[in-house]
């Protein structure tokens, strides 16, 4: 034992301990002088020495002495072996000799000296799989791992391992998320997997396209191609709508690896959700074909609602309706009013007339398809339109156009249109009794359908709504129609036997509305006369146009889809918004969401209320690629939309990125170690620098041992014995 192995830890201040010791010494000296006279010098010294030793030992308790035993130990370093299992690791390696993951697995488990086993001899090895997230795995799980997840985030994974390991070993092809930051928590050794030299692929790396486009307005899609191993090749880039080719352009690949940008322009002609795809045909020897195609959704909307209005003659109805339409900046109105009929006599030469020819053929044979809504206002069309024109109108509505048929005294007699295409698409027929009645005025009442229909439902309060329409000024003339089964009457006359005033129906893809009066303008001026403003009429006309043209703003529900295409397994969230007047209450039970997978089966969905009244958040988790249809139902109606879930390999750049691995190892203070015979030795040598040792220190407290207590008792007991023996007691 060495002196430096003894340590004291006084329980009292040293001054007190020294004072106690001096007191013990003093008492021993006093005893010596007292006893020396009676027992002699030798015996007195013996007794005093025994007492002094006993007291000194007792006082030494206060020093709390202990013996320190030190021993040095070497710590087995912990090593985190991280195996990248993202999709790119599933690519064939070196021309089809298994995947990159197989290469990594082989390095860890196979050969005469498997790396994992060798490492285990010198390290405390922990295995991790780097997929969507970092996951600890056992050695026995290695063989079953699949490269199927999306790109892992290495930065986040290293954060997770911080403080839990002293060294990291990453086996990867380098296609992973990394923020490039400098790290000091532990060094990471990177082992590159795969080979860029032999990798061949063309992929669509980026597509810049608007999510919203206007019908009839050219739009450009910018596509960035990245290629490996195809320098000098010319490839076509195709833009398709479903299976229909919209446009294509060839581009020459200049460098390898390198990027080429192609711009494709086209003009969408159809309104609605378009499912477009951009593709490059797969080339010979290409490792990955699925990243040659990118799907995207494009919502095509009207820039303006194009309305063609034909009026039978100048009238108050024409002026007020035209003004309402003209003042709406979202409407592009082309109106014709028949200023003179063939029976009217013109008394001036042509140059003194401002009348223009009514371009019937141009409008109804060629141009009608370019409009969204056709309005006939008190128009005796039988004077101007031939059967082909009428057939063209029917086709226009059948293909999705809107048709408003405004009444008045000029409508053709029943027999003139009953068997015509117009008679077929209208949801009403003339009664054949009076045709047009102006002998008595009529108010209007809201029907049961009118209570919920977006054209007439101007308020959520049904009582207010009904009284609002009842208060409208009386109509001085109405057409007497009979409703067909296809028609839905929204407003009816206040007669004892009510006549339909406002009737709507669907005809194939289009919508039809009949307003059986040319006096709706009184709803404007009449309310102004009452001091109530023109709100009702303007809103009615606005809604009439929007309903007929299927404007999304009037749909019972609006759905906002995520901007980016969804991926398999990732929760997709859609925002659902009810129409303003239906939003009151915000009861979740009033809205339902159904999602159907590409094979038509119904999916599990979640639906919850958002913060704003009338808004909901729906979500589902797609399980496979393809088009998912979903249907939102509300009491006021439903909406069907679709969303594309892409194959997760779309846009995947699976080229090995070993430069990134070098960057990662440098940023962490680690090393980039390409695979080779000396790999293990290099790892071990590098690990030695990371080796840590520690000194174990054990303390034995002297006074906790019974021997020392016995020794004190022995000295004090010996003194007592001698004093008794020598007759002092």
């Amino acid at each position: 034992m060495k002196l430096d192995q003894i340590a004291v830890a006084p329980v009292f201040p040293m001054g007190i301990i020294l004072l106690l010791f001096l007191l013990g010494l003093f008492s021993s000296l006093v005893q010596y002088f007292i006893v020396r006279g009676r027992l002699g010098h030798v015996k007195a010294i013996s007794l005093s020495a025994l007492r002094l030793i006993g007291i000194s030992l007792l006082i030494s308790f206060a020093l709390n002495p202990s013996i320190v035993m030190r021993s040095e130990h070497r710590v087995t370093p912990s090593l985190a072996v991280i195996l990248d299992t993202s999709q790119s690791m599933g690519q064939s390696n070196y021309g089809g000799e298994g995947s990159r993951l197989d290469e990594a697995r082989s390095l860890l488990l196979q050969g005469p000296s498997p790396l994992l086993r060798s490492l285990s001899e010198n390290f405390e090895v922990r295995l991790y799989e780097l997929g969507d997230s970092l996951r600890a795995v056992g050695e026995e799980e290695l063989k079953g791992l699949k490269a199927s997840t999306s790109k892992g985030d290495l930065t986040r994974s290293l954060d997770q391992l911080s403080g839990k390991t002293s060294l990291g070993l990453l086996l990867s092809d380098g296609t992973m998320g990394w923020d490039g930051s400098q790290r000091t928590d532990f060094p990471l050794i990177t082992i590159p997997i795969g080979s860029l030299e032999r990798y061949k692929d063309i992929l669509i790396k980026e597509v810049k396209a608007p999510a919203l486009a206007f019908r009839g307005k050219e739009l450009t899609v910018d596509i960035t191609l990245r290629s490996y191993g195809y320098s000098g090749l010319t490839v076509p880039v195709l833009l398709k709508d479903g299976n229909r080719l919209l446009t294509a352009k060839s581009t020459r690949i200049q460098n390898s690896p390198g990027e080429t940008t192609v711009s494709l322009s086209f003009t969408p002609e159809e309104v609605g959700e378009r499912n477009l795809s951009i593709s490059v045909p797969q080339q010979f020897g290409e490792e990955l074909g699925s990243n040659n195609t990118v799907s995207l959704s494009l919502k095509v909307v009207r820039d303006k609602i194009r309305v063609l209005m034909v009026s039978g003659n100048p009238s108050m109805n024409y002026r007020f309706m035209r003004t309402a339409l003209k003042n709406d900046p979202s409407i592009d109105l082309l109106s014709f009013v028949i200023l003179r009929t063939p029976s009217d006599i013109m008394n001036v030469p042509l140059q003194e007339q401002s009348l223009i020819p009514f371009p019937v053929d141009t409008l109804f044979s060629n141009e009608l398809k370019n409009f969204d809504l056709l309005i006939f206002d008190n128009f005796r069309y039988t004077l101007f339109l031939n059967p082909l024109h009428l057939e063209s109108i029917k086709e226009f509505v059948r293909s999705g156009g809107g048709f408003a048929f405004i009444g008045g005294p000029n409508l053709p007699e029943e027999g003139r249109y009953r068997a015509t295409p117009i008679g077929e698409i209208l949801p009403l027929r003339l009664t054949g009794k009076e045709g047009y009645r102006r002998s008595s005025s009529s108010g209007v009442n809201l029907s049961r359908s009118g209570l919920t229909h977006p054209i007439t439902r101007l308020s959520s309060d049904e009582v207010d709504l009904s009284s609002f329409w009842r208060e409208m000024p009386f109509l001085d003339g109405i057409n007497l129609f009979e409703v067909k089964t296809s028609g839905s009457v929204l407003l009816e006359s206040s007669d004892e036997i009510p006549y339909p005033i406002l009737t709507v129906s669907d005809y194939r893809k289009g919508r039809v509305l009949v307003l059986a009066t040319d006096y709706s303008w009184k709803w404007y001026m009449g309310m102004v006369a009452k001091g109530k403003g023109n709100y009702g009429y303007l809103r009615f006309i606005d809604r009439m146009v929007r309903w007929l043209t299927k404007d999304p703003s009037l749909e019972p529900v609006q759905v906002t889809l995520p901007e980016k295409a969804g991926l398999i397994g990732q929760e997709m969230e859609v925002r659902i918004k009810l129409r303003e007047e239906d939003a009151t209450g915000n009861r979740r039970s009033t809205v339902s969401l159904s999602v159907f997978s590409p094979d038509g089966s119904r999916m599990m969905t979640k639906l919850k209320s958002a913060q704003r009244p009338g808004e909901f958040l729906g979500s589902f988790v797609p399980e496979k690629a393809g088009m998912y249809k979903f249907r939102v139902e509300t009491p006021a109606g439903h909406l069907e939309e679709s969303i594309i879930i892409t194959r997760s390999l779309e846009r995947l750049d699976a080229a090995p990125d070993h430069e990134k691995l070098k960057e990662i190892s440098a940023s962490t203070g680690g090393k980039y170690l390409p695979r080779g015979e000396n790999l293990l030795r290099e790892i071990e040598e590098y690990a030695k620098r990371m080796e840590t040792r520690f000194i174990e220190e054990k303390r034995f407290s002297v006074w906790t041992t019974p021997f020392v207590l016995a020794l004190v008792l022995a000295f004090l007991g010996g003194e007592w014995y001698l004093r008794r023996r020598w007759g002092l007691i």
Binding site: I356, L383, M525
Partner: protein, 260 residues
């Protein structure tokens, strides 16, 4: 309850009605009994206090006849006489106001009614049949317009205004007298709810019960009368179509006919 009234039916009207009824039993067509019996257009003449509110009592029938003969508009050959307190005022397609002499100021309520009528889409055609600038009816009418619509003023309508090309391409205004070679108007945005003339158009239109012109047109004679009818029809068509002729589709035709 309506306060307006129809003038008494004349013998001519009675015969016309009888013929129409008879014809309607046998014929149907663009102007069948059903459609012709319902006029879309009529004059509602404003009766005011003071001055002379009805200087040309027989102007309606000739202009309506001309209107029906030349255009697709069906008209009523009787006028309605109204006042600014008439609850049906807002349903009248054209409020007509004429006079020779200064009239009493409108009441505040009448001004408010007229302001509301004109601001929300009503149309007023006014004419000074005396033709004295700054005197009589002209003085009173301009005074009232300043009170009714203080932020707007009567201005000469530019040559490309829709009223000059709503039906005819008008080169001259016409009228019983030739005071102004233009119309004046008060324009709110793209709509001119007030058109004002001092040429006495209705004086040029008016016929007596025997079908003779009541007034000579000076100094232009019959061409001046003809121009007055064309102007009248254009004003009526404008009141029912607004600035329809400003639509893009009409532009090239109108430019061509003006040889521009």
């Amino acid at each position: 309850m309506r306060t307006s009234s129809f003038n008494h039916c004349s013998r001519r009207d009675f015969l016309s009605l009888g013929l129409s009824l008879t014809a309607g039993l046998f014929f149907s067509g663009p102007k069948s009994l059903l459609s012709a019996s319902f006029p879309h257009f009529f004059f509602a003449q404003l009766k005011y206090r003071g001055g002379e509110w009805d200087p040309n009592a027989n102007f309606v029938e000739p202009i309506i006849e001309e209107l029906e003969l030349r255009t697709s508009i069906d008209g009523l050959k009787q006028r309605r006489v109204t006042s600014l307190s008439d609850p049906d005022l807002f349903y009248y397609p054209l409020l007509y106001m004429a006079g020779r002499y200064e009239f009493e100021p409108f009441t505040a309520q009448e001004r408010e009614t007229l302001r509301r009528f004109l601001t929300y889409g009503g149309f007023l055609f006014a004419e000074d049949t005396l033709g004295a600038k700054g005197l009589g009816f002209d003085l009173a009418f301009r005074r009232e317009m300043k009170q009714v619509l203080p932020n707007y003023e009567l201005k000469r309508l530019p040559a490309d205004h829709s009223v000059y090309q709503s039906f005819y391409m008008i080169g001259s205004i016409g009228g019983r007298q030739r005071i102004n070679p233009y119309l004046e108007g008060l324009t709110i945005d793209n709509w001119t709810p007030v058109i004002y003339s001092q040429n006495d158009l209705s004086g040029a239109w008016a016929k007596d019960r025997f079908g003779k012109w009541v007034n000579e047109c000076v100094p232009g004679g019959e061409p001046q009368r003809s121009a007055a009818f064309k102007t009248g029809i254009n004003i009526i068509v404008y009141s029912l179509t607004s600035d329809y002729k400003k639509d893009v589709i009409h532009h090239p035709f109108i430019m061509r006919r003006k040889n521009i």
